[in-house]
Subunit: 349 residues, 2 copies
Amino acid sequence: MSSNNAIVLKKYIDPTEGYPKIGEHFGLEERPFNLEATKVDEEHPLLLRNIYTSIDPYIRIRMQNPKYKSYLPSLGINQVIPNLTLAEVVKSAVPEHKTGSHVIFMSGWEEYTLVPKQAMGMVQSVNNPYNLPLMTFVGALGMPSQTAYIGLKHIGQPKAGETIYVSAASGAVGQVVGQLAKAMGLYVVGSAGSDEKIAHLKEIGYDAVFNYKKESVHEALPRVCPKGIDIYFENVGGETLDAVLLNANFHARIIFCGCISQYNNPNPYGLKNYSQILTKSIKVEGFIVMNLMPLYQEEYFREMPKLIAEGKLKYKYDVYMGLGSIPEGFLAVLQGNNFGKALSKIADE
Amino acid sequence: MSSNNAIVLKKYIDPTEGYPKIGEHFGLEERPFNLEATKVDEEHPLLLRNIYTSIDPYIRIRMQNPKYKSYLPSLGINQVIPNLTLAEVVKSAVPEHKTGSHVIFMSGWEEYTLVPKQAMGMVQSVNNPYNLPLMTFVGALGMPSQTAYIGLKHIGQPKAGETIYVSAASGAVGQVVGQLAKAMGLYVVGSAGSDEKIAHLKEIGYDAVFNYKKESVHEALPRVCPKGIDIYFENVGGETLDAVLLNANFHARIIFCGCISQYNNPNPYGLKNYSQILTKSIKVEGFIVMNLMPLYQEEYFREMPKLIAEGKLKYKYDVYMGLGSIPEGFLAVLQGNNFGKALSKIADE
């Protein structure tokens, strides 16, 4: 008998309760599994062996009690935690996914996943003409990069020569935004909270950077954006957004992607400069990448793998080895202790 | 000798100084004028006789000291105050504007205007197939209606069945927004600050209304917008905007047209709920109608005069008789004491 162990939600956590505790709120569940006896059929057309799975901070929102409304539904108690995963098809009842082929699916933090027919529309075949490492499909091509690409290109409408400022620039989204914007001919400015991160931003091509823990955003922005800000990729909210509004140019676009300073803040920062939206004809737009990806999927997988294959998009990984290491990796992500994109290698390729 | 009297700016006013004073900051200047001796030529191709002129609150911004930056440049001291005006061509050196024809131009608060060649591109011929009253061209078809039309249609992207909420709904912009939205099949909700204004909103077709001086916007919105808010036509800012963000639907659009609660507020209201922009994929867009009007002018003058001729757009006027009554009318506008669109009849048709 083999196993199909999983990381499951054990208890809901309140928004203000801080970090989830391993064992109490979530943790490993040991599940015996008979691989040979497990059948695929019309109701469950695919059995997947999960190889690489993404570890993303937004999962924290799905661990909340459903009484707290958010943009994503809460998980059920004892539910396996789902996240974007690269998997091998080990049994198939459908011709479009052959045994031995690879797919991307929200199967999540477990060893094997039996896909119900209702979810088959979400299973995506891996097409890999540049022969990229398989982890790329949940890493450099995963959801943070999709967020960066769609936000920058389709919300931001960038034009060569414009100035873009990216907060949380060394994060999984910010790194990609900066490199894509640079490739589009923009002047790229970023901020992060440590000298190590700042050094990394320079390495990947940011034109100007500052450490927001050493210099206030109000002081820094006029210096690092001498021509003002045309596009702001918003990841943090709060005082940073206020300073951006003051330094924004006429017709600036604010790509509202994250608001990490406010998520767990019982005393939200009161934004003061929002009337600049009117006086400068600014556009502010929030978006959720899962809703927009179907529109841009074909274009994304045509353009991005090529950029990666050509070495034009550098990408750092933090790989957690084995299913059992996922909880530790997830806490590191929530605490900002990881540097590259966190993922777990659950099984051998 | 006839006269070309004018209302001129006499002294700049600070943003926090309250209302401008007649005589001190602006007032009537008596100017003798020889109509017969005044010639048109290549440098000054048109002489206009001003008949109806608009009286708009945004002029307050142009009376500020240039050291205060705003979205419109300050006027010069002793400059005639410009505003949208319906005029008759009395002398012409160009074939496209015949003597006796009518034009719309930013000639402003004076009896006669000699148009320099640099400004000729701004002179617009009046085309009046529905034989509307001439004051309509600076009234029901003037800048507030242009703001309402372009903001609602091209920023708001309304769909039949959606809910729109309009603050300052009885203002020159809000009245038109409500009627246009109703004609487009929306559920139209508005707020105003007196029972008389509320009664008027019901008369012109608002589906639900509330008096924000009697019921807080936080209490009222869930009641008057039972299906949530899809479009918000923002004229006031502050707490109202915060309440709207909480009651907004996924993919809501906020047409950021005015922020009157904050213009003269030394302690700006700190907006708390802006992270809703992210979690609900909201789009917030500021715009200045003068910049967008060239794009939509043809469409606007094709659609709006027809609606007015058919009686589908009701419009109230407050007409101040004679150039000398303009300062009084302007103060009434700033103090919110006028009800309909304020304009002045400077001369007979």
